[in-house]
Symmetry: C2
Subunit: 783 residues, 2 copies
């Protein structure tokens, strides 16, 4: 069993870990694609991935703080909360516009100059121009990604999902990541790769929200006393949820779809008041986008794509249908589900292949891989149109010019003589957005020919598979929509020409194909439905879209997990699923706790505290009162982070008798939780030998009422408590009053599939008997 | 302080209570409108309202049952779950079509004959016909409601919300209620009242789901062994959520809106897998509706309204806008919020007035009230058009005929000579759906005149206020949309004619007005947004609708609660809000528990059990092991319902020594929870004196791992646990190991605002200092 310590970094999100602690192991890696094994060995032992904590701490200090809070402060808090939601919407909307304008201008200029060179028959020069531009753009993106912000690679949606599930991995929402994500996605999208800017915009929205929610920067003296109200994981989670929604709203110009995406896909916890705030944020995004696109339409932005607030208008597509059309649509949905889940399976394998063969070889290999994909994409872009013959323009009166020479337009001239067009060039020799617009365009029957559509489908499917996994910011929505729309158009051409079904337009079939692939790969339902409606502005398609999504998700779910969940597993984030695994019903809380328990007294020797903090990695410790009461009593939990602050402040005493004085030097604001990766570590604390013999009083920082479970409770039931309330620690109490007053503490690590199976290997056999969908179903039964 | 024992019944939902236990008290009633006081004195003492229980019980019997469950049974369960979801969608869709067709035909025939009589100038006869029809229809509806299914009165959405919040009041989802709701809403809507069928359809969907989820009927020998898998509150809750979504989907032909309504307004607990199932249900509804409307369009249904799947098509309404239009829209939103919240306040007062002065006087008074409102409505319907002069038909080429004589159409002839129309008749002398369609119609500038619109706005606002509260099934969506659309059209006429703003069509203003009123009264956001989009099919209005909803909800929230929440309070359902009240942070769990604790031993004398069950009303009892262990140990909880089943089965022993035998006669299926109101009561048990001296062994039914909290935990934190996990009991454990091993049990009753304030009166003063919105904000801070 060979350890691959650098693998995780190689994949996408490098985590700055102790290299002596292998995070992933080879046999687990190969298991990942089967969807059985969590690959995270994180939590207590050695990793810097931490768990977020949504529990309300009830220590004396915090209670005093809460009681002392004035009406004015509460009002400040409310105003601030809405201001932040507004700012998240504003900034995300602006970044969305900037990325859009940058991509449209760079890619537009590139394609225009190339088209001119082709027109004047300088083919070698044209090919060099396309390839050169693409390689340079992708290279910039990859360099940024590899050297500055490795967490910015990929779509970013798995990272946002992980954060909102309570996983605090370093750098995933940092300013560096934000910077790299913005520039990198401009590079990769403008560089012609088969990637979108939608996933990255979700990550960007979340980064912006997280930065706002840090509560000022102590380093840059920008912190204000009233910002401390925001220094907790709950408020940050809410803001990041708003950010994710704003990202989708900015990417698809779909404000309601954004709210639903955040609700259905991104968030693990949800409250009705959050729905309302998220709605506000996406409304701000919609207003910003509308103002921006009005401003750009006047010509301030150079080249600017069509569309306005509705990106791909299909409202003129006829959609009357009877049973024959419904049959075609169901076929589309079912086969879309198969192709979508096949995409998930193949992409996961390709990512693991990339990880082993390129990413592990160091930065140069990663950059080489990105450039190689850029070259292959350029060859497709320039080479494929030559496979399609020139065809005469249709004689119909269309709202589309034929042929066109510039960047956008359905009927591209490419190398064809006047009056003729190259249908494949309209799909590959253009931006991805324009290709989708062409595929969705209605009233253009017989524009495409079977060979061209099939060639493009195969090429886009393969390129999408190869591209998602290289070290550049790369959204997955656009490539999946592209493949799906091509496939849908193909089915549409088959039904309209071969079976003479005239009810649905080919553009409508393309939209349904996109829905089928999205459903088959991403497995969302309501949010995809609303996003597609907001993209295409044709409500009469709604029942069809719903049917297609139902069919493709059902088919897809019977093969594998959603693509983002697969990537979460590959990346090794310790995610808590919504439901416990059925085998957890066979274990009790007592079976999962570790021994021996490391504990403190309410008044503890400083040297002792230092020793324990140095030798363990636990993030919380139980406090046991022993001397005074007739029997040991559980006093509560203290957090490692709070202990470190107490030690840093050197609030020490010479005697054990605590009397009433406590924490003279420290206000509760000092204990507010800093942003990820900014807390103290034990190395920051220096204690003299004299101080080591003094005492520290823990009373004010003891959380006297942590959530507890009895040791007889099944692990599944404890899991429900842990997951639903977003806890970081659960105390396991003995049912029988003999012995220790507390048996142990359950953390996220203790609920991990792999960890449980490693300490209870006998469960592995019972697990193998369960079939995947039945497992899911029965876990559903025990919420 | 005068007790009003029958008041609750008088209001809307009568609860078959012990009359010696006053449910509502007068001072609480008058406080209701201020939104401060919970009026429920339910829970442990005397009421038949029970709490639902979503906890997974871990007793030996259930564990064995779970372990014995085969793969086949799990598969059965999964198939059944989806079959039920399908059936809920199918039946709700069918009932929706039936109600629609019945209303269209009855109301259409009534209006046509009346129009003919008016045309032949037989005015007295015409008036008698309208009034007679309306009174007869409303009378039938009221008779059914008062004598057969009193729980069917009103909209039903508060009842569904209460059920999904965990309140199990008798009859709210019973077959009788379903029957009355279907027939009653046909009567009240066809009877011309200012009510809709939308709220009732939500209730109907929930009733259908609840009946399916009862798991067969033991009385009618229709129960199957595999249906026992469904005999728990969790699965029933999921089904009822699907039913509520299906209701909205059937009412508005808005499948996505239905899912979001269930999510945002109806449900208190939500899981992602439920989203997916709800989506499936509403997709079924959409398909059923489409098939039904296709079938009806051929002429199978007699008269049938326009619209197809999109009820009010506004897609042709221009919606280009700049800052002047935005200003008008914001004014509309803000004033809509004021008028909407005023509606809530006035309607609550009117309902309380009705309760005191009519409903308390017995059934006759209730029926008189309903008939009186029907007469007033008829007078409006027939009388108001005479206030508007006849106007010549516009000379524009319109898609609308002018004038029309039959039921629907924008330009009604009424009593006018040829070539002229009565604009007010097009609003009042028609069905509510057609009136809304006329108000939303685009391209009909200057159709309405100021006086007519103002008269209709005042009339519809007053009639909507007066109607919601009488003893017939009455939806609130349609009247609110009607008022809002009229108000919006008025603002639209002002801006287009007086300020010459041509960007937005008057029909678009009407839609925005409806959004403003809905937002101001019902306070939903995303779901209203999507429902309105699905109703009107114009996506370019989306940013405007979002802005209007934000404005009106913000304004409304600063005055009072949402209308359904106000009605929940009036009806006295013990609802658990999403967040604890801030004053709960000042109490600990120990402060809320009652003493003395009633407890059992693991092996208990039958007579003792009978005595305790007769003398207390508690629904669960702690079991304490005393004799063997050195110290008393908490063994777990037993439920009253399980004890009753154990007693009924007479599984008694002669000696205390339990040995290993236990529950020889009983399978776990016997303990499955029956539907509401169907369980055993202590009166059903008969025990002979000899049996009273025998022993009953509780071991197999002890839930050994209930959720517990330490007594030092603040009540707010315990509330979060209780609410988030949907519990019925929380055990309060002592932190110090002296004394009893368990201090008490917290139930829904113990978290009720009024109950807490009655046992801790000193908190009342601190409460008054808090301003309402600040209270909300700070409760938000401590989730």
């Amino acid at each position: 069993m060979e350890a691959l310590p650098e693998l995780e970094e190689g994949l996408v999100a490098p985590l700055d870990r102790d290299p002596s602690q292998p995070l992933l192991q080879k046999d687990r890696l190969t298991n990942a694609t089967t969807g059985i094994s969590h690959m995270a060995i994180v939590g207590a032992d050695g990793s810097l991935i931490e768990s977020l904590d949504y529990e309300v701490l009830e220590s004396d200090l915090f209670k005093q703080d809460w009681r002392a809070r004035t009406q004015c402060e509460v009002l400040q808090y409310v105003i601030l909360k809405w201001t932040f939601a507004f700012l998240v919407g504003l900034f995300t909307g602006l970044v969305g516009i900037i990325i859009n304008v940058a991509v449209e201008n760079i890619a537009g200029a590139k394609l225009m100059y190339t088209a001119k060179l082709i027109y004047s028959n300088q083919l070698v020069l044209a090919f060099s121009l396309v390839t050169g531009c693409n390689v340079v753009l992708v290279l910039c993106s990859a360099l940024l990604c590899v050297y500055l912000g490795p967490a910015a690679a990929g779509s970013g949606i798995p990272e946002v999902k992980a954060y909102l599930n309570g996983v605090d991995a370093p750098e995933i929402l940092s300013p560096k990541t934000l910077f790299v994500k913005v520039l990198g996605s401009i590079g990769s999208v403008a560089g012609g790769l088969y990637v979108g800017k939608e996933g990255p915009l979700v990550h960007i929205g979340a980064c912006i929200a997280s930065l706002l929610g840090q509560g000022g920067s102590r380093k840059h003296h920008l912190t204000f006393s009233w910002l401390r109200l925001f220094k907790n994981d709950r408020d940050r989670r809410d803001l990041v949820t708003c950010g994710a929604a704003a990202g989708v709203a900015a990417a698809f110009r779909a404000p309601v779809g954004g709210v639903l995406f955040a609700l259905e896909e991104a968030a693990s916890w949800w409250r009705s008041s959050l729905l309302w705030r998220t709605f506000f944020t996406t409304a701000v995004v919609a207003v910003v986008l509308r103002l921006g696109s009005n401003w750009c339409r006047v010509g301030h932005c150079g080249l600017f794509g069509k569309g306005g607030l509705i990106m791909f208008d299909v409202s003129k597509g006829s959609s009357t249908y009877g049973f024959p059309e419904l049959f075609a649509v169901m076929i589309l949905g079912l086969s879309g589900g198969i192709l979508g889940s096949l995409f998930n399976a193949l992409n996961t394998r390709i990512c693991i292949f990339y990880a082993k063969n390129f990413n592990l070889k160091g930065p140069a290999a990663k950059i080489f891989l990105a450039c190689f994909v850029a070259v292959v994409t350029s060859v497709c872009c320039f080479g494929l149109p030559w496979l399609a013959p020139c065809r005469p323009c249709p004689q119909l009166t269309l709202p589309y010019e034929c042929p066109t020479y510039d960047r956008s337009g359905n009927f591209k001239s490419f190398h064809c003589p006047t009056g003729q067009y190259n249908d494949l060039a309209g799909l590959v020799f253009t931006t991805n957005d324009d290709a989708i617009r062409n595929l969705f365009s209605t009233g253009t029957q017989k524009e495409y020919h079977y060979t061209s559509i099939i060639i493009f489908f195969v090429a886009s499917y393969i390129m999408a598979l190869l591209t998602y996994g290289i070290a550049v910011p790369s959204g997955l929505f656009i490539p999946v929509i592209l493949c799906g729309a091509t496939y849908g158009r193909l089915i549409g051409m088959l039904s309209t020409t071969m079976y003479d079904l005239k009810g649905l337009d080919e553009g409508v079939y393309a939209v349904l194909g996109a829905a089928a692939f999205l459903g088959g790969s991403m497995r969302m339902t309501v949010s995809l439905c609303v996003i597609l409606l907001e993209l295409t502005n044709n409500l009469s398609m709604l029942p069809l879209i719903m049917l297609v999504l139902l069919a493709s998700k059902t088919v897809g779910d019977s093969f594998n997990m959603a693509i983002y969940n697969l990537h979460l597993k590959i990346k090794g984030f310790p995610i808590l699923e919504a439901h416990p695994e059925p085998f957890m019903h066979q274990l009790t809380a007592r079976d999962a706790v570790k021994s021996p328990l490391v504990k403190f007294s309410p008044v503890e020797r400083v040297g002792n505290v230092m020793h324990i903090l140095r030798t363990t990695k636990h993030s919380a410790f139980p406090v046991i009162e022993e001397p005074l009461s007739p029997k040991a009593t559980f006093a509560g939990l203290v957090l490692r982070s709070h202990l470190l602050i107490l030690l840093k402040k050197k609030d020490f005493y010479f005697t054990r008798s605590s009397s009433t004085m406590s924490c003279r030097k420290i206000s509760s604001g000092e204990f507010a939780k800093p942003g990820s990766g900014k807390g103290l570590t034990i190395e920051d604390i220096e204690v003299t030998p004299e101080e080591e013999d003094m005492y520290v009083i823990l009373h004010p920082i003891i959380n006297a009422s942590p959530y507890t479970v009895l040791d007889t409770m099944s692990l599944a039931k404890a899991y429900t408590l842990f997951r639903q309330l977003g806890l970081r620690h659960i105390c396991v109490m003995p049912r029988k009053p003999e012995g220790e007053p507390i048996l142990g503490i359950l953390t996220r690590h203790d609920f991990m599939h792999d960890h449980l199976l490693s300490i209870h290997p006998h469960l592995r056999s019972s697990l193998l008997k369960d079939r995947s969908f039945l497992r899911q179903a029965s876990s559903d039964r025990h919420p």
